[in-house]
Symmetry: C2
Subunit: 590 residues, 2 copies
């Protein structure tokens, strides 16, 4: 969606809005960590995110990769930066084509400043001379497809002392077809407000978003303001002087200063704020909290999972529950799908999932971190204890879960820990929800004035002996359905027919029932390959003949993965009754 559309909506709803800028990390690990950060920061409700362009290095490819992933995997409306003076025309064409193919509809068109800290940059012969040429070119080539942003310089461009001319350059960019303006960083609010008035006075009537860079460290702040020739009011320098060696104090000051600046601008009628995050999370979050900004409900949780914004997935509004903790893998394994299920999984043709091998399928953390977390388990009981510790938040990750348990699982946390310690190794779960308001802080999603529901769900590995006991228990329970499968693919189930089971759904004014999460056999069979393979990956951390490898490989080879749905969503705890009896416990060690 175009950023201008989102801005219009926010203004119509009379609320403030904000956006985050990231830069492409230099290492693969950095990129993975940025994704995590972006996913977490999604909850802060930015209208969009920017990713900067680094034409000089290989990082422009990384820009494209980060943009595509943000848009398709994390469902963040993404704006890709694009510079022109340092880019050959063909590279610009490729970048625009790829962006469009990925469903990206927003470009920040820049002239091409030297990369921060690098003064010696190469001007490109076949590129454009000015940002306005790039804007014009994009409009010519792509008509109205892209929403185009341009940069504004409240203090004038560093390379041009003539501020009047600078203003005319901006006007030319707008006249060439720009849709909105993001400003260079500044620390003098009055200066910005004056400049904004001048912009309006000469007829610039598109949205102008002030760029806010929270001070993260004294050294960084000095370097940046020197580089950009940013004017820093004396009182800020005075405030910083006594604390300049205390990084924590500087950060805190940076947060307070940004809150103060934004509040002043808010009082002057400014509604949108663009944050230069420097790929950091904390300051931006604290500033938003300080401003009392909360994510608009519809933005934060349109569905219980973050919908991809990739172009081919527009209609997608149902997913199997299995990949809840591995969204990226799900997106990648369904990348080749032409058509995504809309509302009902049953309407989609039986989906073919991509092979797990093709996607760098692996443990998320480096081997040494994994070993530190999981140590060298000697018995099955050691494994059980790791799972139980994860449930109690004493362990940050397991091969199946990169991050701690979701808050929604708080209500079942201790019960989960209990069954894990008995050898029912849970890798996914959700509690029952019987018509919570769609604005509920934990369970809510979708538009306001709706009601959301969940069937209780548990997915766990279980030994073959314990499986028989579980199935016997389940068979006397009128509301429970299950699928169980081992590594070899032997499937056991008590469901009849191939109908998918909706386990999360919502009822909203004027709509059909939305049922975004389901359990069904075809996708479960695709998921089980991945779920079992993670045991193998875990075993590979150890010497082949070691006791740890043997214990894990035995589970990998012989245990079953089972998922259980309690179809009576009005009974919160019934699903755990199948574990109540001691007879279902597997032997503690073998």
């Amino acid at each position: 969606m175009k950023i201008t559309k989102k801005i219009e909506k926010a203004l119509a709803e009379e609320r403030c809005f904000w956006s985050f800028e990231y830069f492409p990390p230099k290492t693969e690990t950095g990129v993975i960590n940025l994704y995590d950060r972006m996913e977490r920061m999604y909850a802060l409700g930015p209208e969009f995110i920017d990713v900067t362009w680094n034409a000089g290095g290989s990082s422009s490819d990384v820009t494209m990769q980060v943009c595509t992933t943000a848009q398709s995997v994390y469902g963040l409306e993404t704006c890709m930066h694009l510079t022109c003076t340092n880019m050959p025309r063909e590279k610009i064409d490729i970048a625009l084509r790829d962006a469009k193919a990925a469903g990206i509809q927003n470009i920040l068109a820049l002239r091409g400043d030297p990369p921060r800290g690098q003064e010696n940059w190469t001007k490109c012969e076949t590129g454009f001379s000015y940002a306005r040429d790039l804007v014009k070119y994009i409009r010519e080539e792509y008509g109205d497809y892209f929403c185009i942003g341009v940069a504004g310089y409240p203090e004038g461009h560093t390379e041009n002392p003539d501020k009047e001319e600078d203003m005319q350059h901006l006007k030319a960019k707008v006249d060439a077809g720009a849709n909105y303006i993001v400003t260079q960083l500044f620390y003098d609010v009055d200066l910005f407000l004056d400049w904004e008035k001048q912009c309006r006075a000469i007829g610039i009537d598109i949205p102008i978003l002030p760029g806010i860079m929270p001070i993260q460290s004294y050294g960084g702040f000095k370097r940046m303001t020197t580089l950009c020739k940013t004017f820093v009011p004396k009182e800020i320098l005075d405030d910083l002087e006594p604390i300049k060696d205390d990084d924590k104090a500087v950060k805190e000051y940076g947060v307070k200063l940004a809150v103060k600046m934004c509040n002043t601008m808010k009082d002057a009628g400014i509604r949108g704020f663009h944050f230069y995050t420097l790929n950091l999370e904390r300051s931006t979050r604290l500033i938003l909290e300080g401003l009392g900004f909360v994510a608009p409900i519809e933005l934060a949780r349109p569905l219980p999972w973050n919908p991809s914004l990739a172009k081919n997935r527009e209609k997608e509004n149902v997913r199997p529950i299995f990949w809840k903790n591995r969204t990226r893998s799900y997106i990648l394994r369904t990348e080749a799908w032409d058509d995504f299920p809309n509302g009902r999984w049953g309407d989609a043709r039986s989906p073919a999932f991509g092979e797990i091998d093709g996607y760098g399928f692996n443990l998320k953390y480096p081997a040494d971190e994994c070993l530190q977390m999981w140590n060298h388990p000697q018995t099955e009981k050691d494994i059980f204890n790791l799972f139980a510790k994860y449930c109690m938040n004493e362990l940050n990750a397991l091969p199946w879960s990169d991050s701690p348990l979701y808050p929604e699982s708080d209500v079942i946390r201790t019960r989960l820990a209990d069954i894990n310690s008995k050898g029912f190794l849970t890798i996914n779960s959700q509690p029952a929800v019987d018509g919570a308001p769609s604005t509920h802080p934990i369970y809510g999603w979708g538009p306001k004035n709706g009601f959301v529901y969940q069937k209780a769900y548990l997915e766990f590995f279980v030994s073959p002996e314990a499986l028989d006991n579980i199935i016997t228990k389940v068979s006397s329970h009128p509301y429970i359905t299950y699928y169980a499968v081992n590594k070899q693919g032997d499937l056991r189930t008590n469901t009849q027919g191939d109908s998918p089971n909706a386990v999360t759904w919502g009822v909203f004014p004027g709509q059909e029932i939305i049922q975004p999460t389901i359990v069904e056999s075809v996708s479960f069979m695709a998921w089980k390959d991945e779920a079992f393979e993670l045991w193998n990956k875990w075993a590979c951390l150890y010497e082949p003949e070691s006791q740890s490898a043997k214990v894990i490989q035995n589970i990998w080879d012989t245990w079953f993965l089972i998922n259980i749905v309690d179809n009576n969503f009005k009974d919160e705890h019934a699903i755990f009754t199948i574990f109540d009896d001691g007879t279902t416990s597997p032997p503690a060690s073998r």
Copy 2:
């Protein structure tokens, strides 16, 4: 579905089952009344119904019409009788082809008795000589497509005194491919049970359903038993003798006798009973009640409306709410659809409804009955009072509703009457339901262990002045959505987008959410033509320039039809608050 499948299911569930036989009425009105009766008797839960064949007259066309309508409009599993000796081969071919096209999968193959009471019948040269030839022919031509029933004669065939040979004839029919047997009527249970034992003894192992004909009148009973040479035990004749002139007493005796006979057979292990209803309802209902037979839940209400069993509608499980009181019209106006929505109306292409003119669109009752019911209204207030009386069950029908209010509307009956008397002329409604068990006697539908929901719904005609007040009220209500339209098609709505609104849905174990009833604009626009035209039909009952015609025509010309959904299904009565204030009342008369 094949009758034998249904019998297998009933036996697997260890329950008794029953079926009803009807004959094609001689007049168009008779046919319409039979449809009403069949629809009501659906609730008695027959596994299937039979319609007899009358090859001699034009009524074989009526047989086909009744079979098709029972199958497609009323969703009754239908078995068509077909006779052979009195039918040319081509006519048999046409009948079988048409039956298959209509989704009928059950044929009762008969030799072709003379029509009841007509001894002089014409044997047809190009037909078959015996029922077994017809069975064989159907198998040859259609393979396993049809489930084929044949007749059994516990007392021997009237034309054949050799009972042993009779039994061999039956065996031949079974060997030719018959799937089940329905017997001729009888009144001596022991005789039937002996005969059934003999059947089993010679290797007939398909289901045998005893045919039960409740005694409806002494004269009819005597004629029938004489014609069929049925043995009547002396005690029955003795019992009837003193009451033979008292029709009511004879009917009551007939019910008691049938209950006694069935109970005896039940004790002997018989599970299925075929009732010759003679197109009458009361006796059959009383017998089933006397036997303590209740309709199996899943059979009685698979969906909140009776699904059509027409072949092309197999996937249909969602319908607009508007035709709730005019199912036949809906089925006919959607007859040309290739594809029916399954689960989500939104997935179907925008449907084109057939014109209302093509389907003998009319008031259901003859003009004199209508005038008797509705009299000669002189003012709008007179009309309001008719609507109010209908709500209070003091009037049996209105042009929009052929039969009294549904029991589910009992909880809102007095409120409905109240708003009708104020000029909000309701023609459709449903109360809110917040998760009733799927076995609930009034609201329940679908498989057991499920929960069903409804959003409160009201549809009514309203004067243009009152409409403005209603819309003002609604606009301050966060949960209410509406569509309003006049005869000319001016549409007003507060809904956004074209999304259909699910107003009835159910949550069941191991399934996606089923949402069988929706409100949306395209079908509402098709429905409004029909709803407005009924005012015209009503006006046509009166002289063109009469006061009654003028009052009704003015409503037809100027009023709006509005439907209102309260999307908060957890609040049962909120929908009526929009009528609470006196300001929304239209003038009582103009």
